[in-house]
């Protein structure tokens, strides 16, 4: 912005060569600006006064709309909680504010287009680089600063400065370790995400319960072809601040009953199922969405997020979509009262892959 006196034409000397532009000895002539065409408002005083009237009328309409918005705020209460009242409140305040703003905008633009002069101006461009003298002065600033400070000469100081400044960032970064908890007496695994990821709250004898009611499931109540959303029975004892969601995010399971002969031994560890009932982790091995959709006829599980498909009759292996691994299977059996229980935790980590998984 500081070199207003020199039009770019004078600076051609600084311009890099035209390079690869095809030089035309006889380029097309630019005819210059076309003659100015007057608008109706320039030619006809009546049109001008009409435009003026339009502009100020719009401003007053805006004023009225603003008043309406305030009135609507009072006229349409929402305290009843009725959906219709909320909708009216939203609509009528919005219409008021919307038209108030819109008319201001339309008026201002009409003002500039119809009333303000529309003669085009021409301004010269200047080369973006500074003038040679300015550039030299700038270089001199650095040269003198360098001589006075010895920044280039005294390498020991410079090296020390760079090392110290870089090192000074490290403590700040270190503090961010505190974003996640450290291990403690009562929570020995809190500082070890890998260990946490490798375990869920399923333990031997933990009953399988309905999600979200928490009622335990009897093997006899699981109908053939059905799919049941399952959580550990003791999950309901956890509060929201005691890791309810975190445990649930790992422990959710889908329970399906097939005919025992639909579970071929080469894909399914039969001692992990009970009478055709199998339980698989519901956490997708892709990025962790719940694999919530079960297709009874084909025994396929579908993840609604990225459409990975798993074949339950073949050990929940991936048959389509971006998932990388079969869903982990939860070993189950029944207890003395006929309730389904876990035989152990999952034998591999559930959910998405991670670096230390293997």
């Amino acid at each position: 912005m500081s070199h207003e006196e020199e039009p770019q034409a004078l600076e051609k000397a600084h311009q890099p060569s035209s390079g690869l532009v095809v030089a035309v000895a006889d380029p097309v002539q630019n005819p210059g600006l076309p003659p100015h065409r007057e608008r109706m408002t320039d030619k006809d005083p009546a049109a001008m006064s009409r435009a003026v009237r339009t502009v100020y009328t719009l401003f007053y309409i805006s004023l009225a709309a603003s008043l309406w918005a305030v009135a609507a705020y009072m006229l349409f209460p929402i305290e009843s909680g009725e959906f219709g009242d909320i909708r009216s409140n939203n609509l009528f305040i919005g219409l008021g504010i919307g038209f108030a703003l819109l008319t201001i905008g339309i008026a201002a633009i009409h003002w500039s287009k119809a009333i303000m002069p529309d003669k085009e101006h021409i301004e010269a461009r200047h080369s973006t680089r500074g003038k040679e003298s300015t550039r030299e002065a700038a270089v001199n600033v650095f040269r003198e600063a360098n001589e006075e400070s010895g920044f280039g000469r005294r390498t020991a100081i410079r090296g020390g400065l760079i090392a110290a400044v870089v090192a000074s960032i490290v403590p700040g970064v270190t503090l961010f370790r505190g974003l996640a908890p450290h291990s403690s007496e009562e929570n020995p695994l809190a500082g070890d995400p890998v260990a946490l990821l490798k375990h869920t709250m399923w333990t031997e004898g933990e009953r399988l319960a309905h999600d979200p009611s928490g009622l335990p499931i009897r093997a006899a109540d699981v109908a053939l072809g059905s799919a049941v959303h399952v959580i550990p029975e003791s999950l309901k004892d956890l509060g929201h601040l005691e890791g309810y969601l975190e445990e649930k995010a790992k422990a959710i399971v889908l329970l399906m009953r097939l005919l025992p002969e639909q579970l071929p031994a080469e894909y399914n560890r039969l001692d992990w199922s009970y009478d055709g009932i199998v339980a698989y982790s519901k956490v997708c091995t892709h990025v962790g969405c719940p694999v919530a959709l079960y297709e009874q006829q084909t025994h396929h599980l579908l993840c609604p997020c990225h459409q990975s498909q798993f074949d339950v009759s073949r050990g929940a292996e991936v048959i389509f979509g971006p998932a990388a691994r079969p869903l982990p299977q939860l070993p189950i059996t029944v207890d003395a009262e006929g309730y389904l229980v876990a035989k152990s935790d999952f034998e591999e980590p559930v959910g998405p892959s991670f670096w230390e998984r293997h």
């Binding site: 912005m1 390079g19 532009v21 035309v24 006889d26 097309v28 600006l33 076309p34 929402i78 909320i86 409140n89 939203n90 609509l91 305040i93 919005g94 219409l95 919307g98 038209f99 819109l102 008319t103 905008g105 008026a107 201002a108 633009i109 500039s112 085009e120 101006h121 301004e123 010269a124 461009r125 973006t128 809190a190 999600d211 959580i231 601040l241 890791g243 969601l245 975190e246 649930k248 995010a249 956490v283 892709h286 962790g288 969405c289 719940p290 919530a292 609604p304 997020c305 990225h306 459409q307 048959i319 389509f320 979509g321 971006p322 998932a323 959910g351 998405p352 892959s353 991670f354 670096w355």
Partner: protein, 607 residues
């Protein structure tokens, strides 16, 4: 320089004190401020700055103003939103969710929606404005790309704009996650899964981000800090830099009569653009408020609180994240690899790498093109896309690539809506991801070159006037009218480049990368047209005039003959201009026959 008189605000400070512009108070205030800030210099500098006018220059303005709306509405929301995941129960006016346990974040969002008059309106304004903000940035970027407005000296401003685009998406995503409802929780779950898939740092990055295991009790508060403090701060600083560079570089303009690379033709900042841009802020704001008052967005009350277990079919991310979600969906199955006793999750890494490469290519495209073309001059003329066929074709290929990824994010909706198989849709999109950009590239390049040829044809041989003339020999021709000189210059006033020529360096060698660069350059400027010269234009104009005179002569002869045959020798050869614009011209076929008994009355040449 502009022909106008001195700018009004500057004279206000300079006029003698007896009658200051705007009255004694304004004059005194202006004087007070200037004596302390020297602001008159700034007013003088940018007050009458000239900006060119074109509808496409308004797209960036939509982005700017929708950000203002986002900022204002968002500030209002912060007074009521509680960025906390502490468990609580909703007990507000909305009956279906009363008594349900949820986080304070969702509870306060419901409170804003149902228990605060106008609260739902502001929430919806905020969401709609954010969507418009990102959309406007995207369209603005496309305009800059396809007109070559990123060329020197504006490469850095392109990069700043690109960072703004990324920031806008980050702000969108962090904001989307704040209400802690079922959908946003699932979005975070996907982000968590993606982060965990990163080699070496993934597990710990996720653990630190969520403050423990997913979902934890910390993420909403942390995203809130990013959403309302850190990211907006960077965004606003970069917007300021973006606009300052725009003023320093002056806006580009399209080629046209009187418009060259050395000037800028348009209207002054004050009062024209102040009024137009200011007005446009209100129009953007007003339209957003109207949309928000009539169309529901993100009805979190339908989703309920986050729970890792349920998810509904047909879940969609907000549209601007779609391309990333789509990339995840298109990855092939079973890509986990165990190497060096660690899990390499290529099902995540592959799409992430593809997206990263795509994004980096967008960010550095100006530098790639400058390297390939070897062009080091300043460019202030916005090119028409057809005048840079290779760039336009690359741009279209990129748009198709993005569009396929974006469509993939709705693969399930496409499949159910059009009764297709899920697998068929995914496989088709996988193929399209590679084939689509290639086909798009070649088709676009051909269309651009064809359009250039059409422009040249019109500039040199005139446009088809729609007037058909029958020559005495019985031949019918359509008369081509020469285009106006002011229109012609828009069609043919552009530069044409030659490919880079490799030259040996000081050692007399041509390094391999220079050879590579030259071959890229040949490819970039392939099939270019040679430039039109003024001599060619003059010759073409002379030819056109000669031709038109000839046609006129032939036509008049024809009409005169018809008049004679009709017995109306003195009838005018041209229509009488009676002030109306007759639909039918004075043609031999519609001469009024004066003598009813003339034997030639039916002898109409047009039969």
């Amino acid at each position: 320089m502009s022909t106008s008189t001195e700018s009004a605000p500057a004279t206000a400070l300079a006029t003698p004190a007896d009658k200051p512009l705007g009255g004694r108070f304004i004059g005194a205030t202006a004087n007070y401020i200037d004596e302390r800030t020297s602001i008159s210099g700034l007013v003088k500098e940018i007050g009458r700055k000239i900006f060119p006018d074109h509808w496409s220059f308004m797209l960036g303005e939509i982005a700017l103003w929708s950000f203002v709306v986002v900022f204002l509405s968002g500030s209002f929301l912060t007074f009521f939103f509680e960025a906390s995941m502490a468990p609580t129960h909703y007990d507000g006016a909305y009956v279906p969710l009363r008594g349900i346990e949820m986080s304070a974040a969702l509870e306060s969002t419901l409170h804003i929606s149902f228990d605060l008059r106008g609260g739902l309106l502001v929430r919806q304004i905020h969401h709609w404005a954010a969507l418009l903000f990102i959309a406007a940035i995207g369209v603005h970027m496309l305009r800059v790309f396809f007109t070559g407005a990123f060329r020197k000296p504006r490469e850095l401003n392109w990069v700043i704009g690109f960072v703004l685009f990324i920031l806008a998406m980050a702000l969108g995503f962090t904001g989307y996650s704040l209400p802690d409802d079922l959908l946003s929780g699932n979005g975070l779950r996907i982000i968590d899964g993606m982060i965990k898939g990163l080699p070496l740092i993934g597990t710990w990055t996720s653990y630190l981000l969520f403050g423990g295991e997913f979902p934890g009790n910390a993420i909403v508060g942390r995203l809130y800090t990013l959403h309302i403090l850190l990211l907006p701060l960077i965004l606003i600083a970069l917007i300021a830099a973006h606009l300052m560079l725009m003023i320093i570089n002056k806006h580009t303009q399209f080629a046209g009569p009187g418009r060259t690379n050395d000037n800028v033709v348009g209207y002054p900042m004050v009062p024209i653009y102040m009024s137009k841009m200011g007005g446009f802020l209100f129009i953007t704001f007003g339209v957003l408020v109207l949309i928000a008052s009539m169309f529901t967005i993100n009805p979190i009350w339908n989703y309920g609180p986050y729970d890792p277990s349920p998810v509904s079919a047909g879940t969609q991310p907000d549209w601007y994240i779609g391309f990333a979600d789509g990339a995840l969906r298109l990855a092939p199955s079973n890509l986990d690899v165990v190497l060096f006793d660690h899990t390499w999750s290529f099902g995540i890494l592959l799409p992430v790498a593809v997206l990263g490469l795509f994004i980096v290519l967008v960010a550095i495209y100006p530098f790639i093109e400058a390297w390939v073309t070897g062009d080091k001059r300043e460019h202030h003329i916005a090119q028409r896309p057809r005048h840079a066929p290779t760039r336009t074709a690359i741009g279209v290929a990129g748009v198709i690539f993005y569009a396929v990824l974006w469509a993939a994010a709705s693969s399930d909706i496409i499949a159910t809506h059009f009764h297709l198989t899920m697998e068929g849709v995914i496989h088709t999109l996988q193929a399209l991801l590679f084939v689509g950009p290639i086909v798009g590239y070649f088709v676009t390049k051909r269309i651009a070159i064809a359009l250039q040829k059409k422009d040249r044809e019109i500039a040199l041989h005139g446009y088809e006037s729609g007037r058909i003339v029958r020559l005495p020999g019985g031949e019918y021709i359509e008369v081509h009218q020469p285009v106006d000189a002011y229109e012609r210059v828009k069609l043919i006033d552009f530069e044409i480049h030659e490919p880079l020529v490799v030259r040996p360096n000081d050692n007399g060698r041509i390094p391999w990368h220079e050879n590579f660069r030259a071959s890229l350059s040949r490819w970039f400027f392939e099939d270019r047209l040679s430039p039109v010269t003024q001599a060619e234009v003059n010759a073409a104009i002379a030819h056109q005039h000669h031709e038109l005179e000839h046609i006129d002569h032939e036509e008049q002869e024809e009409i005169r003959g018809a008049h004679e045959r009709a017995g109306a020798v003195d009838a005018p050869l041209h229509p009488i201009d009676d002030g109306h614009n007759p639909e039918t011209a004075n043609r031999p076929s519609n001469i009024i026959v004066v003598d009813e008994e003339s034997p030639k009355k039916d002898n109409r040449p047009s039969d």
